[in-house]
């Protein structure tokens, strides 16, 4: 994992486990180990946005879990809010959600649990 240090990786797993705690046959975010794939996402994030994200994750990595739970709850409330700061909250929400949902729901283990399978007929192209 080239882009993030240990504290930032810890932040991704903490946020991931709050957004995706695990239920039924679906494991929690950190149990999948999907954070290992994070460079597949971050390699293509524009440098200025990546810098902002890394700073944010450093901050989140230092926060106690209870504080993170409250923060993510507040970010979720920003979706339809017109209060000052709501635009920034929505951007942060989408950024964190984008990383977590991409890594988790892009993981083969989760596809198997969801019984998600797609394919293309290629026998005529061989």
């Amino acid at each position: 994992m080239r882009h993030l240090g240990p504290l930032q990786i810890k932040a991704v797993n903490k946020v991931g486990d709050i957004l995706l705690p695990g239920v039924g046959g679906m494991p929690s975010f950190s149990k999948t180990g999907c954070v290992q794939d994070i460079d597949r996402v971050l390699d293509y994030v524009p440098p200025s946005d990546l810098g902002d994200l890394k700073g944010l994750l450093l901050l989140l990595g230092l926060m106690p879990r209870g504080f993170l739970v409250a923060l993510l709850w507040l970010l979720e409330r920003s979706v339809n809010s017109s209060l000052p700061g709501a635009a920034l909250a929505r951007t942060i929400r989408l950024g964190l959600r984008g990383i977590v949902m991409s890594l988790y729901y892009g993981h083969p283990m989760i596809h198997e649990r969801m019984q998600f399978q797609i394919g293309v007929y290629m026998d005529d192209k061989r």
Partner: protein, 460 residues
């Protein structure tokens, strides 16, 4: 090499114009900011294609964070990642465009020769009912039950082997069969056979003007580059063209630059059924609303679906409830409301040349959206859905305006002859010239406009 034209952007507009100019004997260089992939090299899964084929590493946001925009960054442009749906504009769209722009040829009769010309070489297919998957059948049965009109979509595709189990949703990340008729496998392929040069990973920053020539300045594979040509075609889309022209310092000279941005905001609703739907299987997008009432109400409905990451992003909330819903992915149907939004958005550049997309839904847009979502709820209820979930996050995939066409340089950026107002050597004919949202898939009309524009460029 000395080029007659440099075309910036390789989507359906840039690729078509480059092809026509090349075929007309001009020396053409086609630049694309994104990479080039092919049938054998497209990213094979949603995680990778979402990051690799789109600007911003996947998504760009409006300044208020309410709207997400998906803008392709790849040779072939949006035609690589869309469903190659082709619709002609109707009289309503043309009438509204004539009224806003003052452009007299915006009518079905004048544009028909251009639609016909770009159809040549395209395999346009109509989806037959035998290929409707359960999601489409839920859509059509609900429409029939409530008395609303629908019709199958027309798509530019070769033989996708749907009867052999192909799942079309794969080609949201590029078609591995070369059957989706993207710009890459049609006009770019044909153009290359006749000497068209395409340079990928060439990101244009700005244009500079001197002595009747245009200097194109940017980065190729991260290195500063400059190219010069007597004529330049801007086909980088609403966001790309607006950014390039702002960065070229033309904001003062073109007071309407960046204005009239619209995006057909898409509002998805998922519906849970006790039986397996497998909405992602087979031909996943096959039907749309075709009802004059909905046209009047300002939206259309389409059956559509998303892969797991997309669905995870769209379904509201998080935690156990969200995961429980996702675990039942195969039981969901979905429908989208595509709004004909008001063209009130504005594209500017901020600090460090960062793109700023100021686009808010107006009260009129929100009223249309509310009506559309209520109708979708009625339709899914009629279809027997056990749970109906309206998604809160709206996305725009049809990015239009920013360089609107018109007769008045005070309120438009592009002349009826497809030239930048005040310039004889900069041309535009892509979605950036749209003076308003048509409420109809824009792809076919972009191709037709580009064909018309290319005729003018060759005559210059």
């Amino acid at each position: 090499m000395k080029y007659d034209f440099i075309v910036i952007g390789s989507g359906v507009s840039g690729a078509r114009i480059a092809y026509e100019l090349n075929a007309g004997g001009a020396k053409v260089l086609l630049l694309e900011a994104g990479k080039e992939f092919g049938a054998k090299t497209f990213p094979r899964n949603e995680l990778d294609y979402s990051s690799q084929l789109f600007w911003g590493g996947g998504i760009e946001m409006s300044t208020d964070g309410r709207l997400g925009f998906l803008r392709a960054k790849v040779v072939g442009g949006t035609s690589i990642v869309n469903q190659a749906l082709l619709d002609r504009f109707d009289d309503i769209a043309w009438r509204d465009w004539r009224s806003v722009s003052g452009v007299s040829y915006f009518d079905a009769e004048s544009m028909e020769p251009h639609y016909k010309a770009v159809s040549k070489g395209l395999d346009i297919r109509h989806f037959e009912e035998e290929y409707f998957n359960p999601n489409a059948r839920i859509f059509t049965r609900a429409f029939d039950k409530l008395g609303y009109g629908w019709k199958p979509l027309d798509r530019a595709q070769g033989d996708c082997k749907l009867d052999k189990g192909t799942d079309c949703i794969v080609c949201l990340g590029g078609c591995p069969r070369d059957s989706k008729q993207s710009a890459l496998v049609t006009v770019i392929r044909e153009g290359r056979k006749c000497g068209l040069i395409v340079e990928p990973e060439w990101e244009v920053d700005r244009l500079e003007f001197s002595a009747g020539e245009v200097r194109v300045v940017g980065l190729q594979l991260g290195k500063q580059q400059e190219l010069t040509a007597p004529q330049v075609v801007l086909a980088a889309g609403a966001l790309g063209n607006s950014k390039i022209l702002h960065r070229s310092g033309l904001g003062a000279k073109l007071p309407a630059l960046g204005t009239r941005f619209s995006c057909h905001p898409q509002l998805m609703t998922y519906a849970y059924f006790s039986e397996v739907i497998d909405a992602h299987k087979g031909a996943f997008q096959t039907v749309k609303s075709a009802d004059p009432k909905m046209r009047e109400w300002g939206f259309k409905l389409e059956n559509v679906f998303a892969q797991p990451i997309g669905t995870g992003m769209l379904l509201p909330g998080y935690g156990e409830q969200h995961q429980k819903r996702m675990s039942k992915f195969r039981h969901y149907a979905s429908m989208e409301v595509a709004l004909r939004d008001e063209a009130t958005g504005r594209i500017t550049v901020g600090k460090g040349g960062k793109l700023m997309i100021d686009k808010k839904l107006t009260d009129v847009d929100r009223a249309k959206g509310k009506r559309g979502l209520e109708l979708v709820r009625e339709l899914f209820t009629a279809a027997g859905a056990q749970e109906i979930i309206a998604c809160e996050q709206a996305f725009g995939l049809h990015l239009m305006g920013g360089c609107p066409i018109g007769t008045d340089p005070g309120t438009s950026v592009t002349s009826p002859e497809f030239k930048l107002h005040g310039f004889n050597n900069v041309w535009l004919a892509d979605s950036s010239v749209f003076p308003g949202a048509p409420g109809i898939n824009p792809s076919f009309t972009i191709m037709a406009l580009s064909h018309r524009a290319a005729q003018g460029m060759l005559k210059r």
